[in-house]
């Protein structure tokens, strides 16, 4: 069925263009020297097509909606101001689900069938990694806006040279290393974790441990309980932690599972017993809004962007515009989605072409301003360097949810792994 549709469409395309070309009298030339004809056309032909995919079904469907808000807003703004290099921008948004084969199929559809120039999105690390080899084949730039696995940039971009992939969101470095930089100043010695039972949870916990040991050799790690994907009942995990009587709890639970975990932990008195609690993705809007006043105070949270930081005109204006457009505060994926579109705009206009090679070259090392502040795409691994805040949850009468107090901001270069990502001196703490 699909096959026939494709044939017919391509056939129509051909029959549509060929007479025009022939009428222009360049038919022979087009056959013999197709490049000559291309050369006569402007460098960037429109419309510019962006294929975006994120989770739109199942328990994480809310993330896709937040991605979409950011991306749609960016495209509306850009088109209102004349598009990218004078060309209109079009976007198609697809449900990535959480499955890798679905993400691959979508990417192939975007490029091979729809003719996308640029891809963005991706929530799951597994999907991002599975896409990496495919992106090399498809040869279009992909901006990852949520998946955090450091393997994507360290292994696939840096070591294997899949240059098409970029990431403008915080990788696991913030969730793992940066948390340790914050934690080292606490009097807590005995640390524990309840984290997701998959690579993301394992990796962050390991980064946290390694960095914290480097920063504070007296630190001990006394209990760990990993909750499988889809856990709704954390009570046994909470018992495991409380039995170990730790001073500190570190948890990379996120989204709905973090909400359940916090509610159930609160019921069990977990946050009364454990004094220092860190949620590296606890400042995600879905979590803050979901928990509302039930989020305990004085918990150290961070996120890949938080709408109160930076306190700059650009950011504050954007938050206001976003709020007006969607009646929501921007989630971090909204910001990364928004910035991902602008990153492409900047790169295309810098390169003067939407050719993949040129765009990749333009993005490498590119500096851009975004709501989250200044981003620099590191040349070696294509990872955006930017700063995100950590802070303690507190009430604020202006908001129906908890916000960050005592904000601390670490410069990204202090805790990001450094190329060549192997051997001593590539992981924090740096001397």
């Amino acid at each position: 069925m699909e096959k026939k549709g494709m044939n017919r469409r391509q056939f129509l395309k051909l029959t549509g263009t060929v007479p025009l070309v022939a009428a222009a009298g360049t038919f022979g030339g087009w056959l013999a020297f197709p490049k000559g004809l291309w050369a006569a056309t402007p460098a960037i032909k429109g419309p510019i097509k962006i294929g975006y995919q994120a989770i739109l079904s199942g328990t994480l469907a809310g993330y896709g909606e937040f991605h979409k808000m950011g991306a749609v807003m960016a495209i509306e703004e850009i088109n209102a101001k004349g598009g990218i290099a004078g060309q209109k921008v079009e976007m198609e948004f697809r449900d990535s689900t959480t499955k890798a084969d679905e993400a691959i199929k979508n990417a192939r559809y975007f490029v091979d069938s729809w003719g996308a120039d640029y891809l963005a999105g991706i929530d799951s690390s597994g999907q991002a990694l599975a896409l990496a080899p495919v992106m090399a084949q498809l040869d279009r730039p992909l901006m990852v806006t949520h998946a955090a696995t450091e393997k994507l940039t360290e292994e696939f971009v840096f070591k294997k040279g899949v240059k098409q992939i970029f990431r403008n969101c915080m990788p696991t470095y913030n969730d793992g290393h940066a948390a340790a930089f914050i934690a080292k100043d606490f009097p807590a010695v005995k640390w524990s974790t309840v984290s997701p039972k998959y690579e993301y949870g394992f990796t962050c916990w390991k980064m946290f441990q390694d960095s914290l040991k480097g920063l504070k050799p007296s630190a001990q790690f006394v209990a760990e309980s990993f909750a499988p994907f889809g856990t709704t009942d954390f009570r046994s995990h909470i018992n495991t932690i409380m039995d170990a009587r730790p001073d500190g709890l570190y948890s990379t639970e996120w989204a709905g599972e973090l909400i359940s975990f916090v509610r159930q932990g609160k019921e069990a008195g977990l946050f009364d017993k454990v004094k220092y609690v860190m949620f590296p993705v606890g400042a995600a809007m879905d979590v803050l809004e979901g928990l509302g006043k039930d989020m305990p105070d004085n918990i150290w949270v961070s996120a890949r962007y938080f709408f109160q930081y930076p306190n700059s005109k650009e950011n504050n204006d954007w938050v206001a515009r976003f709020n007006k457009r969607w009646k929501h505060y921007p989630a971090y994926v909204s910001e990364t989605a928004y910035s991902a579109i602008y990153a492409y705009k900047a790169a295309v206009e810098k390169a003067g072409s939407k050719d993949t090679k040129a765009v990749v070259a333009a993005l490498e090392g590119m500096e851009m301003n975004s709501p989250a502040g200044k981003r620099v795409f590191r040349k070696e691994d294509h990872q955006a360097m930017y700063d995100v805040p950590w802070g303690k949850t507190k009430s604020d009468p202006k908001y129906p949810f908890k916000v960050m107090g005592d904000m601390k901001v670490l410069p990204a270069k202090e805790y990001f792994n450094r190329p060549p990502f192997e051997g001593p001196g590539t992981t924090p703490p740096f001397k």
């Binding site: 699909e2 890798a100 199929k105």
Partner: protein, 322 residues
């Protein structure tokens, strides 16, 4: 005889059309056709179990995954030869299927289904948790498509999708042919007997459990083949291949296309993949659209699409013959 010739003719036409796909259509259509063929291999083998023998398994994703991981691990540690890899993948799948089958074939119906579900999810949990071997939830990534070298030093590249397409097509044709032969064979008849009346089969002297085990392993081999081919196509092997939601796919497409014919699961695979793709082009709410289509098919086409169509043909043909 006539019907046989007609079927052979139809098969030849489909094969020719499949051969023509890479020359006539876009890259995405080639890719989708490959996915349809992979699901077709999975389902046509699975239907030997469900349609031919009457056993409902919810654990065949495990064998699919075993095929993918078998090929992936073999490729990473021993040899990247695709044919050897596929052979290892199939062998791994068969081994696992024999193990699971041995535990499950004493049971029938829903109990068999739930036991296979349990075994499949144990495999899923293994692939997820044995991080040192399987790469955890990220799976094995970056599986290579090395050229196929045959005796005499011929090397056939399969790196490009247009080339790999024929690699898949070869195994697809082989699988369909094998499934066809099995259905027509004495073994196939014995399976049909078990489906129709297991107790009577025993009284006919058929060792029912051993046949069930054999067909279970055989369908596991098809699943392993499909899995190892997908590992080559998508360059990865993932735990979700063993998840029950994936195990449900061949069930779904077999029911969709029709249990009672060879073509049923194949037609079902094509409908399933093409339909989802078409719905996704119109709406993000593809689950709603797909759910409604499923409802219509189940309520309207009780014997699956092929079953209903052939019944219609028979009806249409009957007055002429009479």
């Amino acid at each position: 005889m006539k019907a046989q010739n007609r079927n052979a003719g139809a098969a030849a036409v489909v094969l020719l059309a499949l051969c023509a796909v890479p020359f006539l259509s876009g890259k995405f259509a080639i890719y989708l056709t490959m996915r349809i063929m992979l699901l077709g291999i999975f389902a046509v083998g699975y239907n030997l179990l469900l349609g031919q023998t009457g056993l409902l398994s919810f654990g065949h994703g495990a064998f699919y995954a075993a095929g993918a991981y078998g090929l992936g691990l073999f490729g990473a540690h021993v040899s990247t030869h695709p044919l050897l890899g596929v052979a290892v993948g199939v062998a791994t799948a068969v081994f696992l299927a024999l193990l699971v089958g041995y535990l499950c074939v004493r049971h029938t119906e829903i109990y068999f289904a739930m036991l296979t579900l349990a075994c499949g999810m144990m495999a899923f949990s293994f692939f997820w948790n044995a991080r040192e071997i399987t790469g955890g939830d990220d799976g094995l990534i970056g599986i290579l498509r090395a050229p196929v070298s045959l005796f005499g030093g011929i090397r056939i590249p399969i790196g490009k999708d247009g080339q790999f397409y024929f690699f898949v097509l070869f195994f697809f044709a082989l699988s369909v042919w094998a499934a066809h032969r099995i259905r027509q064979s004495p073994f196939g008849l014995a399976l049909a007997g078990i489906r129709e009346n297991a107790r009577r089969s025993e009284f006919a002297g058929v060792p029912v459990r051993r046949y069930r085990l054999a067909v279970f392993a055989l369908s596991g081999a098809f699943a392993g083949l499909a899995g190892s081919l997908e590992a080559l196509l998508e360059s990865n092997a993932r735990p979700f291949m063993a998840h029950w939601t994936h195990s449900a796919e061949p069930v779904l497409v077999s029911l969709l296309g029709g249990l009672s014919s060879l073509a049923g699961p194949l037609v079902g695979s094509a409908i399933y993949i093409a339909m989802r793709e078409i719905i996704q082009r119109f709406t993000e709410n593809w689950m709603l659209g797909f759910g409604i289509v499923l409802l219509v098919i189940i309520m309207g086409f009780r014997g699956g699409v092929t079953g209903t169509l052939s019944a219609l043909f028979r009806k249409a043909a009957a007055p002429g013959e009479g």
